[in-house]
Subunit: 252 residues, 2 copies
DNA sequence: GCAATAGTGTCTATTAGACAATATTTC
DNA sequence: GAAATATTGTCTAATAGACACTATTGC
């Protein structure tokens, strides 16, 4: 019975990679950093880095997130800071050939954040930017712009998995509010759904649905006209995490 | 910029652990193996083992599954063998203290299998058995049977996550058929839902629902009376993977 | 006034769930 | 016949989606 012989395990490196999503200008965007060294030098990649020797996986993801964006993570398993992004584990990628140098297992995490002013608040990446996910996932069809090149490593697959997770999770949970600022209007929340799903939703039915789901939205009493038109009520995210009944994605 | 320095990564061991679920005697059961060496010697644990140096994570999970049960995996990303269990990645667990000996990151996988005759077809575990998940997840409240002791390591948490995944996934996918033999009746499929969810379902509405969902079930033409009563039509799983509309879990 | 967004009301087709009734087997 | 399971039919309350209509701002 050879398993669990601590002295004879194959050497692995373990990293965390981050799929950081936000909604900017009506488009679902992801954070990409430009690689400063080989392999894939100069190419865009997902932010990430090594897990430290005495660090839990989620802590490593939160640390990388803070280093890249200044955001503080707000995960289900931990005390919630005043202002933070949603962080959850996505999946783990361990193809033996995914990194040409050595065996690297990457535990990808998904982050949903409100629209942020500056993409690179500080960190060790040469440069960083938000890019629409369609741009990052496009195949490189004789185009010249660097952003249209495929992502380094298997990061296109990881990004695709993260986008798919986000698209399905806002159906049956209140996670769409993680894309909104602390106070937001029903119209702003609707535009999040429209951007993430890439569809148009009926504003009237949407309003009735979200305000009628208990625990989804809590009115703050304030109003705003930042979208123009009639002033809209401001809401905060309510305590509910699972939506029952779910939001229905049209044309499935 | 220190990330990705291949010569200075902390040493990790990477394992796969398996949550193998089946339905036996109207109860959701998981495969447990008895540990033959410290730590947790003599305690029950989830099957698993080291990922080999040149092996993908899913391949390692499929290999461990075959070693423990003789089952062949049938994953979405690979050619489907004639007869196989459903295999998918569950989550990754990497608390620095989860193994007292060294830093071990475990990539847990979820397996859904039809009822099997012998739990330990061959393998390196001293003994193995199916146990109801409630038994394995019970706290050790001054009981004496070994099966009621908590699982080794963080395996109770992993098993709980796997059970939760299975319970939610049969709602909106056709995965419940993975618990059935190749040919099965509507009543047998209903008893799978009842065992996994722990509820009673109306046989008449259930029948109308599953036979009315396109692509869920394909009649084979045969009938069986193995449940007693009027002969029931036999079905195979259809091509549909996502159920729309989903099966609704009562009392949520 | 017009344009834009917010919000309410109403109608209809669909559906989930309750449950009566019938069909076909074993005992 | 009695008991068990399978299968179909019917009714009702709830709901998703379409869309008319009103409200309140900025210009």
């Amino acid at each position: 019975m050879p398993p669990y012989d601590p002295s004879a395990f194959p050497p692995f490196a373990v990293t965390v990679d981050l799929v950081v999503l936000t909604v900017r200008r009506h488009a679902l965007c992801a954070l990409a950093v430009r690689r400063g060294e080989p392999p894939f030098q100069g190419r865009w990649a997902l932010p990430g880095g090594f897990v430290r020797a005495d660090e839990d996986l989620e802590d490593a993801a939160a640390r990388e997130l803070a280093e890249e964006t200044g955001l503080h993570a707000q995960s289900p398993t931990g005390p919630a800071p005043a202002y933070g992004a949603h962080l959850e584990q996505l999946a783990t990628y361990g193809d033996p050939k995914r990194d040409p140098r050595m065996r690297v297992v990457s535990v990808a995490h998904l982050v949903l954040a409100p629209d942020l002013p500056a993409p690179t608040a500080g960190g060790d990446a040469h440069s960083a930017r938000w890019a629409p996910v369609e741009t990052l996932l496009e195949q490189d069809e004789a185009r010249e712009g660097e952003l249209t090149a495929p992502l380094a490593f298997d990061h296109a697959r990881i990004l695709g998995d993260g986008v798919e997770r986000a698209r399905s999770k806002i159906e049956y949970s209140s996670l769409a509010t993680a894309f909104c600022p602390q106070e937001f209007t029903v119209g702003e929340l609707r535009r999040v759904y429209e951007a993430v799903w890439g569809v148009a939703l009926d504003p009237r039915n949407f309003h009735r649905k979200v305000t009628g789901t208990p625990g989804f939205l809590v009115p703050t009493g304030g109003t705003t006209t930042r979208q123009g038109g009639r002033p809209a009520q401001l809401f905060r995210a309510g305590g509910a995490t699972l939506l029952n009944p779910p939001m229905l994605r049209p044309e499935v």
